[in-house]
């Protein structure tokens, strides 16, 4: 805030007092001086070559040393001599000066000439150099271009190569992929086939098992049925057998039931005891006679059998006279307890 206020205060100054203006002015001044300096100082750049030649020149002068020695030699007649000498010396001096002047002129001229030549030479050299530089530059550029081209070509080549390699790689990869896919497909197919075979095998086994189970179940069912049948036969022998058996068998079963109800095996009975009776019936079913055909050896047992046979008041016999005559006129009965001790 404060800075801002001060800025505001600066703005209040006159434009020419502003640093920008001052700067422009100074720059301008510097530019002018520079320009002036440049033009003024530019000839000053030349002297170095004369200084070089001057030094060379000075070394080529051996005279000054004897002059100094002469001055230092004291003599009585010196006045005159000195005057003479002075005169001569002045003359010499003038001469020397003049020669010197000439020599300087000459040197300057030569120097100028030399300078000119040198400058020309330098110019030529410069130009040559420039040319050389140019050429060099051109050559360099050319080389650079060539190098660039080469690089480009190389890069291109590289790129092509890479591309080719890439393509080859790609191709290879694709081939590989293809091969892999084929392999995979083959494997999948084989797996499929294997699974199929397995499935078929299992199916066959299952069917076999099922058929076995079925057979077992069938067997069991048959067994059960048989059991049931046996039970029924035993339990309801009369009704069942009456249906199953032939006419004579039917009556045989009826007679057996009656005898079983009438038979009281004695306590002494054993499963080894067998008594066979032969009975004779009248066509009405009445008992005509009973005789022991073979005894058991146990009187009580034999008696129990005869008693049972006689206890049946009227035997169930078929109405069919032929069947009666054939089977029921006379027949044997065997008594043999299965469940006795």
């Amino acid at each position: 805030m404060i800075g801002h206020e001060r800025d505001t205060g600066d703005k209040a100054r006159a434009p020419w007092k502003s640093p920008v203006a001052l700067s422009i002015f100074l720059h301008g001044l510097v530019l002018v001086v520079a320009l002036a300096g440049w033009s003024w100082t530019s000839p000053a750049n030349d002297p170095p070559p004369p200084s070089i030649s001057a030094r060379l020149v000075t070394q080529a002068e051996p005279e000054p040393s004897p002059v100094v020695d002469t001055v230092d030699e004291p003599d009585r007649d010196q006045e005159r001599q000195q005057a003479q000498e002075e005169q001569r010396r002045k003359e010499q001096e003038a001469e020397r000066r003049r020669q010197e002047q000439e020599r300087a002129e000459e040197a300057r001229r030569i120097q100028q000439q030399q300078e000119k030549e040198r400058q020309q030479q330098a110019e030529a050299q410069r130009k040559q150099e420039e040319q050389r530089l140019k050429e060099q530059q051109a050559a360099k550029q050319k080389a650079e271009a060539e190098a660039k081209e080469l690089a480009r070509q190389k890069a291109e080549e590289q790129r092509r190569k890479e591309e080719a390699a890439r393509k080859a790689e790609e191709e290879k990869r694709r081939a590989e992929e293809e091969r892999r896919k084929q392999e995979e497909a083959r494997r999948a197919r084989e797996e499929q086939e294997r699974l199929e075979a397995e499935r078929k095998r299992k199916e066959r086994e299952r069917q076999l098992r099922e058929s076995q189970l079925e057979a077992l179940a069938q067997e069991a069912a048959e067994e059960r049925e048989a059991e049931e049948r046996r039970r029924k036969e035993a339990a309801a022998a009369k009704a069942r057998q009456a249906q199953m058996l032939t006419e004579s068998e039917k009556y045989r079963a009826l007679i057996r039931d009656r005898l079983m109800n009438e038979w009281y095996p004695p306590s002494s009975a054993t499963s080894e005891m067998v008594t066979v009776l032969r009975i004779t019936l009248l066509p009405t079913g009445e008992l005509s006679s009973v005789a022991i055909e073979s005894g058991s050896g146990n009187t009580a047992f034999d008696n129990s059998a005869v008693s049972a046979a006689r206890a049946v008041g009227r035997y169930p016999v078929p109405d069919d006279q032929q069947v009666f005559e054939q089977y029921f006129r006379r027949f044997p009965i065997e008594f043999n307890p299965e469940n006795a001790k």
């Binding site: 068998e249 002494s268 044997p332």
Partner: protein, 438 residues
């Protein structure tokens, strides 16, 4: 199955019949065998017709009534109550078979009893109704005071004529009763008829009496009495009442069993440290040790051969029945059916051994067929003990619980109908069935 085996015969005979009938006139009758392998499940229907009486009859049950009861007790007979009879014949010529046949009767027993000069004479006839045939016709006599003996004798004859097995109705039972009163318990060793009648106390004690055993001649009883404060084995002559303490060793003296010749006793003694079975010669008192095992061996009982014996041993961990075929034979384990089988009593024919058998926490009487090893539980009661087989092997007596008391029950040896003996006061236990005395 067997019927089927005959079927080919029938077919063949049919064929033969057909062929024969083509060439000849009336064929002769062909064989048609009927096999009967199973009899009626019910008891044999028999009618014991009340005997006619003449003269001074002794008081008490009538002879025919005692016979009827005997036959019923056997479980093999179902006597017809006299009130259902259509007639009451006392002689064979008065029997109308048609009547008895109508009543579904198989046998009829008729008879007369006359009393003269203190003697009872019985004339009796047994008829087979279906055969209309007399099976037995006999007379028997006895002192008037022994009318029960006369009746049991006739029962034996009837039983044997019908079943072919010697009757055991004239044998005796020995058992121990326990009566508790204000003065403490009273133990009584008693002997009675098989129907529980004519019971007589032979020994009375404040201390327990156990394991009565009949001598082969049925004249002596061996038993264990605690009368001296410790168990000892006694031999007691019934006719004289003479008693002899035969085994009074330190420790256990128990479970006497007679040898067939009556010369020695098997018994359990622990005098050598462990309960083992010994044979004692009664004349000399010599002992022979017959078992030697760290477990308890007890309750010996001679088998039917008289050489080997059954006994109880817990050498397998719990009591089981073992048999030694001879005194020196290796014991053979008989029972496997449950964890507790004890007190073996062999049947007289050597085909079964009877014992106490635990099943589902209840104690039953069971038997094992020694040939097949098959085990049959015979009783439906649940606290059964002390089985004893009748000498004819047809009946079994054992003690069981009836309410608070122990009672004796007779069943058919194959597990038939049960018959409870009339109980005297208090507990009745330890029954022993006597041999048949000839």
């Amino acid at each position: 199955m067997r019927n089927r085996a005959y079927r080919p015969d029938i077919r063949r005979s049919l064929l033969v019949f057909v062929i024969l009938s083509l060439f000849t006139v009336p064929a002769m009758g062909d064989e048609l065998l009927i096999r009967i392998t199973k009899g009626a499940d019910s008891a044999i229907p028999i009618s014991v017709v009340p005997f006619s009486e003449s003269g001074q009859m002794p008081s008490g049950d009538k002879v025919s009534r005692i016979i009827q009861n005997d036959l019923e007790m056997s479980g093999e007979f179902a006597p017809l109550p006299p009130e259902q009879m259509l007639s009451l014949p006392s002689r064979g010529d008065e029997v109308f078979f048609r009547d008895w046949r109508l009543l579904g009767q198989r046998y009829v027993l008729v008879g007369q009893v006359t009393s003269a000069g203190g003697t009872l004479n019985a004339q009796y006839e047994l008829y087979d109704v279906s055969q209309e045939k007399r099976l037995v016709g006999a007379t028997a006599s006895a002192p008037a005071s022994a009318s029960r003996s006369l009746a049991h004798h006739i029962s034996d004859r009837v039983y044997e004529a019908i079943t072919g097995v010697e009757g055991a109705f004239s044998t005796k039972l020995a058992y121990v009763t326990l009566e508790r009163n204000a003065n403490g318990p009273t133990y009584r060793l008693q002997v009675s008829d098989v129907d529980g009648k004519r019971a007589r106390v032979r020994l009375e004690s404040d201390e327990p009496i156990l394991s009565p055993a009949w001598s082969p001649d049925a004249k002596k009883l061996a038993y264990v009495s605690f009368e001296t404060g410790k168990p000892a084995v006694y031999v007691h002559e019934l006719s004289t009442g003479n008693r002899q303490r035969v085994a009074d060793f330190p420790g256990l003296n128990s479970a006497p069993a007679w040898s067939a010749d009556g010369q020695s006793l098997l018994m359990t003694l622990s005098k050598d440290g462990n309960a083992e079975i010994y044979r004692m010669n009664l004349a000399s008192g010599d002992l022979k040790r017959l078992t030697n095992h760290w477990s308890i061996d007890t309750e010996p009982s001679y088998d039917h051969t008289g050489n080997g014996f059954f006994f109880t041993s817990d050498r397998s961990g719990g009591p089981q029945i073992y048999h030694k075929a001879s005194e020196n034979a290796e014991p053979r384990r008989i029972t496997f059916g449950s964890r507790y089988n004890a007190r073996p009593r062999p049947g007289p024919d050597g085909d079964y051994v009877y014992y106490v058998h635990q099943r589902d926490r209840a104690f039953h009487i069971a038997r094992t067929n020694l040939e097949s090893g098959d085990e049959t539980v015979l009783t439906r009661t649940e606290s059964d003990e002390s089985p004893s087989v009748s000498p004819n092997g047809r009946m079994l007596i054992y003690a069981t619980k009836s309410g608070e008391n122990s009672v004796l029950t007779v069943i058919a040896a194959d597990g038939g109908a049960a018959y409870s003996l009339p109980a005297s006061r208090g507990d009745v236990r330890e029954p022993a069935w006597s041999p048949i005395v000839r």
